[in-house]
């Protein structure tokens, strides 16, 4: 029953089918991008600049700041 509904909503009309594909491509791209970034950040935890920067600030805060 539900499959016939899916068919009637999404697949029956080609315009709706193609439109759904393009719309989901946009969503997929954003989700894929953020997902991979999240995994990458998680995989390299402790080696990233944000972590290194934090440890530098904690370790020796007397970095000479030559901004005049």
């Amino acid at each position: 029953m539900s499959f016939s509904r899916i068919y009637n909503v999404f697949f029956k009309r080609n315009s709706v089918f193609v439109g759904t594909i393009f719309a989901s491509a946009f969503i997929f791209q954003a989700a894929f991008d953020s997902g991979i970034t999240k995994w990458y950040n998680n995989h390299n935890k402790g080696k990233l600049w944000v972590d290194v920067k934090k440890s530098l600030e904690e370790g020796n805060g007397d970095d000479d700041d030559d901004d005049e």
Binding site: F11, F17, T20, F26, F28, Q29
Partner: protein
């Protein structure tokens, strides 16, 4: 029966005498094809989605490669519409990563800049040598002391004031007081009708 080629397959005459085997065991009880059909369409659609996303990325990459790269931007010129700067106002534009001050000077300010005794200056330079058109003062907004960005319409000499170490520049951008050794630098620029081109 009749066995000729015919365009219409719904024609009764086209039904062949070939005996169809019984696929009864393989056919679903309720004869619903919706599940399999939806599955097939879903897989087709998923492939289409991946292709579309890949195509989009490819196009985006190509378009991105066409935009100006960092080395081109570093050599870029900046165009400023002078009509948008009223008299007595400053404008700051970014050129090669540095701020460029543009001041539309009033007649009084030009007079003030010319009245200064050049020999009394730390970095002697006449106002006429610093501007192409006395109405427009164009200079790099980087303090010659240690590279801060001075504040406009401030300081003891009605020009610019550097908040870092207190250098005062006059209305011609010349150093008048404070630790800076040189006047504010003048970039190469030219006027074209109503447009200023820095670079």
């Amino acid at each position: 029966m009749i066995n000729k080629r015919c365009l219409s397959s719904t024609n009764k005459a086209q039904i062949s005498t070939y005996k169809t085997p019984d696929f009864g065991d393989a056919v679903k009880k309720d004869k619903s094809t919706d599940k399999g059909r939806s599955y097939a369409y879903f897989m087709i659609g998923s492939l289409g989605m991946l292709s579309a996303a890949g195509g989009k990325s490819t196009v985006e990459t190509f378009l991105g490669s066409m935009s100006a790269s960092a080395d081109v931007l570093a050599m870029a010129k900046v165009e400023v519409n002078l009509a948008s700067i009223p008299e007595g106002k400053n404008a700051v534009v970014k050129w090669q990563g540095k701020p460029v001050f543009i001041r539309h000077r009033t007649a009084h300010e030009i007079e003030e800049a010319n009245q200064v005794d050049i020999t009394s200056l730390k970095d002697p330079q006449a106002d006429a040598d610093r501007v192409k058109n006395p109405s427009w003062l164009v200079m790099l907004g980087v303090c010659t002391h240690l590279g801060c960005v001075p504040i406009g319409e401030a300081g003891d000499f009605g020009g610019w004031f550097c908040p870092c170490h207190g250098s005062h520049y006059d209305i011609s951008g010349r150093i008048r007081k404070g630790p800076a050794p040189l006047n504010l630098e003048i970039p190469t620029y030219e006027f074209q009708d109503d447009t200023l081109i820095v670079g």
